[in-house]
Symmetry: none
DNA sequence: GCGACCTTTCACAAAACTGTAACCATCGTG
DNA sequence: CACGATGGTTACAGTTTTGTGAAAGGTCGC
């Protein structure tokens, strides 16, 4: 679940620097030396944030921001401007165009990361429904608590996320790969068989009889399904 | 419990900008390009705050504010003026008319959000109970006093705010980042790990056995949760 | 300007979680 | 019934996350 950041910056040094530090902070980064293809790519890849140098070739950063704001699919994505110009005029201009913050060069890596995180945090959606129920299972997402038959059952973070995902999509078969994509943070180097292991660990925690599961059903040749008994 | 803000502003760009940033900060926003219907809608929807451009068509912002103040149902709702005029005279005028703050254009998103939050905070004072209790912990926010089992326990300001925040949102997991946002004054340059240190200090002060905490629970892979024993 | 205290970071230790491989069981088919 | 394929189970080693103590740096009041 690493978030993707689009950085538009024509100076290769700065561009590399930005990418490096943001990656160090756990983000995926896609850099662009100029603006033409940015919007199109963004529609496809859904970045979580734009980092725009104001002065780039082609439509400049301000213009790019304007287009982002006018694009229905992208309008809600936050924008941070990157600029060498410190004049107040620019600042104002950038912000009035719908930027969410700005960073003046030279900047420290910390400042960069801090501002990016701060803006992302501000735009994070509040969490949807707090409690999901199925049979005698109660999943409290807000508290990150699992109760089975009224009893609190300890889970690890991954177990919890997996069960939560299942319970929110009951009676649907998921392949192991789908589950990895949906639940695991970094799906790249994980074997689909790991899902088996987690399903087993969950069965031990939620099933009356793990040998004869009533919630987490194996669907041979396909994957698993979570059944919600009436 | 997202609070609703009424923004009255005739410039569509600014209006969109305002809505965007306040939504990003977790508010619901209703915008009006002119003033006639504002009061009526407000009576129905109970906004938590008005953001009024001084110069809008129809009755202007100052007049609108006057009417809000005269309306029994709305008189207590805070008003922030939005204005291009920076002259001191305006400011005074605005505040004398019952505005609670004012923002001059151009403004930064941060300033907008900060002022809105500040004003709301000021008006929320009477609402939250002065004393929050959980188990044998008693948090007197007004007096900034913490009692554990009837005994006064000394805390620093940050410790107190953190515990207060936890106690007001019991049984909910917060990530370190969320806690920084909620409790720390300037979140930008603080490592999430600082939260760990504060949690530990709080445990030393409120837990019978800091090794086996009953209030401040670690949720591995997520953050911390404050549990209120029955 | 000094001292006391608060805040934050850092480095290391400890604890818990994760993912895999290897092996076993079961299923379905010819 | 044999066999290949699929899923189940387990232990463990590596990794990640959290706890902890100490120390640096900052702030405030005097």
């Amino acid at each position: 679940m690493q978030r993707l950041i689009f950085a538009v910056e024509d100076d290769a040094d700065i561009s590399r620097l930005v990418a490096h530090h943001l990656q160090g902070a756990g983000f995926r980064v896609r850099t662009f030396a100029n603006s033409p293809s940015v919007i199109g790519e963004a529609e496809r890849q859904h970045p979580a944030l734009f980092l725009l140098d104001i002065m780039v070739p082609g439509p400049d950063g301000l213009e790019l921001c304007r287009r982002i704001r006018q694009n229905p699919g992208l309008a809600a994505v936050p924008v941070i401007f990157l600029t060498a110009r410190t004049a107040e005029a620019d600042r104002v201009l950038g912000l009035e165009l719908g930027g969410d913050d700005y960073i003046t060069k030279p900047f420290s890596p910390r400042e960069l990361v801090a501002r990016v995180k701060a803006v992302l945090r501000r735009f994070e959606q509040p969490l949807p429904p707090a409690v999901t129920r199925a049979g005698d299972i109660e999943i409290d997402s807000g508290a990150m608590l699992l109760k089975v038959g009224g009893r609190i059952v300890e889970t690890t973070a991954t177990e919890f996320r997996l069960l939560e995902y299942f319970a929110r999509h009951p009676d649907r078969v998921f392949t192991r790969d789908q589950l990895l994509d949906a639940v695991w943070r970094d799906t790249a180097f994980v074997t689909p068989r790991s899902v088996d292991v987690y399903v087993r660990r969950l069965r031990e925690k939620i099933e009356q009889d793990p040998e004869d599961p009533r919630y987490l059903i194996t669907v041979r040749g396909a994957g698993y399904r979570f059944e919600a008994p009436k």
